[in-house]
Every structure is written in structure tokens, then in C-alpha cells.
């Protein structure tokens, strides 16, 4: 067995240690998480001694978390647990909360892989959210809303691109400015057009995909679970998941992706072999705006069905965090958004239990703590593209 597999087993046993104490198994003895989590830590320690530091520390962390979390959970009452842990609801809402994050962080990946830092994802999402709602209202179809939202997000990204590529602004300053602009533009137009009444009810919505056949999958309980958690899945959630695969293929398996990445790693070398660095960067940043806007459109007409001022509320920054946590890779970002989506889905569930209601707010800080730990390099180090953030001056 290779050290890598052992570490994987260690990480898994950390997760299992936590899972065993939750419904439906709901083991009530303290020994179960201690033993299983301990096994994870041991596996991690062994891996570290074999020299695979990153995987090893990951397994140790996972085992430790599973152990501590598990011990805490065994001390809570079983009735409370089943109020909080309804797996089908958790899966359903994890997917809902993941969707905008996936769009934005994949968007961010295009921009950052081409060498342009995109702090402005938040603003681009917000543009998508407002113009998606406005477009749906005006055109009367959700497709129109989606298209107009995408164009608005891409235009804002184009502003960021012009300033950070041609005018050589500091990319973080420019991204911050773009966020302010988006707040101003969407807030102003929203108040001017919709006033105090808010967006009209019955906006055309992104349709759900009917997956009724899931219920008939044997065994009965599995089918029931799949039906409950996935039957209301939005079309855009499926598109987001497809986007992860597509962007992986484009970024790592095609010549285009190689060009984008080379502009982000060594623009001078890319220029030397005839790649138009400016064109690639413009296209990538604009694409990132369009994708982030898709996330915004999902928020306004896919999930909430209205627009409110600053409705993205920091999701663009979580998406950025997911991108970093996922090491600027599509599947890495997917796992990170899964983690963040799950913690967002769990927070409202905690409110079902009065003594825990308080902690749901505290829980919202968790994704950010995880990213802070990740950028600190405790569990392996995130390495950005080499030339990210540096304007390229053609010679």
C-alpha cells in the first residue's frame, strides 16, 4: 500500500468517525469516534514518517476533527440530532448553495490562470443577479434574464480587464473598484426602477429538472432519499456541475487551456512563441465575468426569485476562497464549494434546535476559518499562478 492510499484511508476514517455518531447510525458511545478517528490520526502519522507531509497532515487533521466532533455529538440528545441532520434536506441545500459558488470560482479560475487577479467576482455576481432579474422581468423569459445578466457581468469584467491589462492598474485596486461600482450601479438602478416595492412577484424562473424516476431506484430507501434530495434540482445546478468537467478539459487538455495557463505563468515566454497575451487575458477576464454573472443569475431568478440590494453578500469572496482552497483547479474548487455549501446548508438546520440556534451564526464563519488555515499552509500549500497580479508590458 502506498503512503498516499494510507493517507486517504486516514482522511476517510476521520469522516467516518464523525458519520457514525450522526443519524441514521447514531452511535452513542464515546469509544466509536475515538477509535475510528484515532485510526485516522495513526494513518496520518505513518504517512508523515514516510515523507508525504501534505497528505499525512491532512489525515491527522481529518482524524482529529472527526474525533473531537464525534465526541461532542455523542453528548447531544438524539432527538436534537435528528432535527438537525436530515440528509436529504442537507444534500438539497448543499447543491443550492454550491451552484453560485461553482460558477463564480470557475470564472475566477479562468481570470487568475491567465494572470489577472479577480477580486471583483463579487461585483460581477451582483451584476448578474440584478440584470438577470431585470432581464427576466423585461423579456418575460428566464433565458432573456440569463443572457442579459451574462452580458452585464461580462461588461463589468471588461472594465476590470481594460484597467488591469491596458492601463496597468494594480489588479487588486481595480477589482475593489469594480466591486464598489457594481454595488453602486445595481443599487441605483434597483431603487430607480423598482423603488420601494421590490422586484415584481412571479419573475420568470430558471426551471427545475424533473428527476421523478429517481424514486423508483431500488432499494426503496435509497430511491426515496435520492428523490427527496435531487427531485427539485435546478437546471443551473446541473449546468454548474457540467461546467466543472468542461472547464477541466478546456484548461488542462486543450491547446487553448495551455495558452491561458502560460499567460499566467510566464507571459514573456508565451509572447515569444506567438501567443497574444493581451487577447488571452481579455478573453479570460471577460469569460470570468460572464460565469460569475451566471452564479448571480441563479441567485436572483433561480433560487430567491427576487433581487435585493447587495444580495450576493460576500459569496464572490467565498468563491475566490474556494478557488484558492482548490489550488486553482476545477475539481479542487468543486470540493471546496461542496464543503462551503454543506456548512451553509447546515447552519439553518441548527436553528431547528433552540439551544443551538445561536451557533448557526457562528457557523457561518467556518468557511473563512478553513480558508485562512489553508492559506497558512498547514494542510499543504496553495500555489497561485506565477505571474498572477502582474501587468504584462509588451516589448
Amino acid at each position: 500500500m502506498t503512503p498516499w492510499n494510507v493517507a486517504l484511508l486516514g482522511i476517510l476514517s476521520g469522516v467516518i468517525a464523525f458519520w457514525l455518531v450522526l443519524p441514521p447510525v447514531t452511535s452513542r458511545t464515546i469509544a466509536v469516534p475515538l477509535v475510528v478517528g484515532g485510526a485516522g490520526i495513526a494513518a496520518g502519522a505513518w504517512t508523515i514518517r514516510q515523507g508525504r507531509l501534505r497528505a499525512g497532515w491532512g489525515a491527522v487533521a481529518s482524524g482529529l476533527l472527526g474525533m473531537i466532533g464525534g465526541v461532542f455529538v455523542t453528548r447531544a440528545s438524539a432527538a436534537h440530532l435528528s432535527d438537525v441532520i436530515t440528509w436529504s434536506t442537507l444534500v438539497e441545500f448543499t447543491l443550492v448553495f454550491m451552484t453560485p459558488l461553482i460558477f463564480a470560482s470557475i470564472g475566477g479560475m479562468f481570470s487568475e490562470r491567465s494572470g489577472v487577479v479577480n477580486i471583483g467576482l463579487e461585483g460581477m455576481m451582483l451584476m448578474g443577479a440584478f440584470f438577470g432579474a431585470w432581464g427576466a422581468d423585461r423579456t418575460g423569459t428566464w433565458v432573456g434574464g440569463l443572457a442579459i445578466g451574462i452580458v452585464a457581468g461580462a461588461l463589468l469584467a471588461l472594465v476590470h480587464a481594460v484597467f488591469s491589462i491596458h492601463l496597468r492598474s494594480d489588479q487588486i485596486v481595480s477589482g475593489t473598484a469594480v466591486n464598489f461600482l457594481a454595488l453602486g450601479i445595481t443599487g441605483y438602478l434597483y431603487n430607480d426602477i423598482y423603488g420601494n416595492n421590490g422586484t415584481p412577484g412571479g419573475l420568470p424562473a430558471v426551471p427545475n429538472v424533473s428527476l421523478g424516476w429517481l424514486g423508483s431506484i431500488p432499494p426503496h430507501e435509497l430511491g426515496h432519499f435520492l428523490h427527496d434530495s435531487l427531485s427539485g434540482i435546478s437546471l443551473m445546478t446541473l449546468l454548474a456541475l457540467a461546467l466543472v468537467v468542461v472547464s477541466y478539459v478546456v484548461m488542462f487538455k486543450t491547446a487553448l487551456g495551455l495558452r491561458i495557463r502560460s499567460c499566467g505563468e510566464h507571459p514573456r515566454a508565451a509572447d515569444t512563441v506567438g501567443i497574444n497575451v493581451y487577447a488571452v487575458r481579455y478573453a479570460s477576464v471577460t469569460t470570468s465575468g460572464a460565469l460569475a454573472a451566471c452564479g448571480g443569475v441563479f441567485l436572483s431568478i433561480g433560487y430567491v426569485h427576487s433581487f435585493t440590494e447587495n444580495m450576493t453578500a460576500g459569496r464572490g469572496f467565498i468563491a475566490l476562497a474556494a478557488l484558492i482552497f482548490g489550488n486553482w483547479r476545477p475539481f479542487g474548487a468543486l470540493w471546496a464549494t461542496l464543503l462551503f455549501g454543506f456548512s451553509s446548508a447546515l447552519a439553518p438546520q441548527l436553528e431547528n434546535v433552540p439551544p443551538w440556534a445561536n451557533y448557526s451564526t457562528l457557523f457561518a464563519a467556518l468557511p473563512y476559518v478553513i480558508v485562512l488555515i489553508a492559506v497558512a499552509g498547514v494542510i499543504g500549500k496553495s500555489i497561485p499562478p506565477a505571474a498572477v497580479g502582474r501587468p504584462y508590458v509588451k516589448q
Binding site: G184, G187, A376, G377, V393
Partner: protein
Amino acid sequence: MTEPGPAVEAEQEPEAPLGLAARLELWQRAGGVVTPLLTTIFAFFMGGLVVLVISGKNPLNTYKEIFDGSGLNWFGSYCDFPCRSAGNLQQTLIQFTVLILTGLAVAFAFRCGLFNIGGQGQYIVGTVVAIQIGVSFPSLPAAVHILLAMAGATLAGAFWAGIAGFLKATVGAHEVISTIMLNWIALWVASYLVGFGGPMQDPHAGPVPITQEISSSAKLPIVWGSQLLQGLHIGLFVALAGLVVYWIVLNRTTLGYQVRAVGFNAEAARYGGISVARNYFLAMAISGAFAGLAGSMDILGWQYRLDLTSVQTYSQIAFIGIAVALLGRNGPVGIFFAALLFGALKTGTSTRNLDPNVFRPELANNLTQLIQGLVVLFVGADLLILYVWRVRRKLRLPQRKGSQA
């Protein structure tokens, strides 16, 4: 006119992309006071266009009303009691106080080549600590209590930013990412603390997410106006002193010299025997200290208690610090005027001060956001600045021809 030689050309068009602090140095040399002024005028012009085209209102009337709402018309006009413009000016100056300090928080880090985007988080921990100290020791003498609360908030801000500085110094974690994360951590933890059932919520407030009021010994003395009407508190002088301290630390101390050296060129500074890691940490901590102090000014000066809206919405005032520092070109004088501009803009567009018949305050709030965005966008564009610089050089060149030839 003579053709500029290759050396001049190289100076004008920096070949390698510049670092943050080197860029700021360039801006100071190249743009002077002209680019910030042009940027501001342009941003207001664009804002006026939006008012005219989208809302169909007269932009000049709107700006006049915002100006009056900011209370700046108090200067040079006789005012009867109760004086509306005096009251408005007090509000503007209260915002001015906080904006100077949050501007300094961004500017100090800039000088070390760091982008402290975490002013919001540092401000929030400052407010939380100020409340805790303000509520806790009701029997202390006023001067001691106030100083204790201010010191606590300052240290809290320094600690919060210091985390990012420490990570930058030790493992090289990018300060922008870590300060953004620290913003949200501070926001949610503070929301938990003051929220319903949270440990700092006032037990008598029922479901209202608000803390207890700080004891009267911790309230800052009011120097203009009345406490009941949110008069101007003594914090204004703290902020002005902050400007002086900022200048002295940067320009007259070894620490300031080292911070600037690291900001200008970290490699050269390291070669010269300066500890880059130590200065990254110190610059972030000092920068967070300013933001934490800003938090205590709001709490001790006029809010007196902290509620959920202040934590989640009002704390965004720290973001305006970015615009203040950039527009003020990181100098104390520039920050003074930039803070006054945004303080006036924020007060003038507030729901309380703007006449809805002239222009709806909800729109005006967003107009402020828009102007702020345009200012930050244009003030940071290297090439625009270089262009302005070149035009200036062309204008000046004929006079200096003799000395250059």
C-alpha cells in the same frame, strides 16, 4: 522641442511591472495633486450624468442639496439656532474622524507594499472590544476608562491585522486573501456576540440584537453640539493626531524608514540588513491599530452600543478607507482632504439629511458608492497618470530647456 533621450523614456515607461509601494512613489512624483483632483472631478461628472440620464433630475441641484446636507455650507453663512447646517457639519466631522483613521489603516500598509483590505474586520474587533471595556468597568474615572477602551480597541485591531501580517511574514500567505477572510470571521463572530442569545447581547433587550450601553464614564466628551443630538466628539482630535503620528512614524523613525524601504523594494531592503518579515508584521499590526482605534471612536463617541446593523452594514465604512488612502496618495494632507470629501458625501447622501423631493436618498447612497468606485478605478490607473505626467512635462519643458541641454 527636443526629442526625449532613451534614459528619459525608460524613466517614463517602467519596463518591469512595479510593486505596490514603488507604484505609489511613482504616483506621488508623477501625478502630484493634479490626478486626484481630475479623478474626483471626473467621478462627480459621471455621477451627474447618471443622475441626469437615468433619473432625469438636475445634477447641479442634486449636488447642491448633497453639499447642503453635508453641512459644509455652515462655513460663511450665518445660522440661526437651532442650526441645521451646524448639526449636519457635526455628522460630517464624525464620519471624517473615522475615515481618517480607516484611511491611515490602508495607507500605512500600502507604504510597506501591503494591501490591507481588512479594515472592516479590524474595525469590528475594535468596536467589540470598546463595547466590552465600556460596559465592564463603570466605576473607573472617565479619563482612565476612555483611554483603556481606546487602547483595548487599538490593540485588538493590531492583533487582528497582525494575524495577516504574521502569515505573510512566516509562510508568505497573501495579505489580501487573509484579510478578506479575517473580515468575514470578525463579522460573523461579532454578529454571534451581539445577536439574539449571544453572550454580549443586552439581557433586557428581548429579541433585539444589541449590546448594553457603555457606562457614561466611557463616553467621549462632546466638543460641539449636544450629546443627545449626536454632537461632535473629541475623537476628531484623536484622528488629527493620528495623521501627525502617521507622518512622524513614517518619516522620522527607524521603523518608518525600514517599512518604506521594504515597501519600495523588499529584496534590496533584505540585502541592506532589514528584516522584511518583521516589517511586514509590524506594518500590518500598526495599520490594524488605526482601524481598531476607528472602531472605538464610533462606539465611545456616538453609538454607545453595538447592534447587528452596525456590525454588518455600518462597518463597511472601513472600505471607504481604501478610496481615502488612494485618493489621498497616502500622504497625511491628502488623506485629510480625501476623508473630508467622503465624509461629506456620506453624510450629505444619508436618509436624514437629503430632501427626498430633490433627490431620493436611497438613490444618493448608491451614487456615493458609484463615485467611490470611479475614484478608486481611475486614481489607480498607471498609464492615465503617466499620460498626465507627460503632458505636464511637455508644458514645463520649454522653461527648463537651457538647464537640460
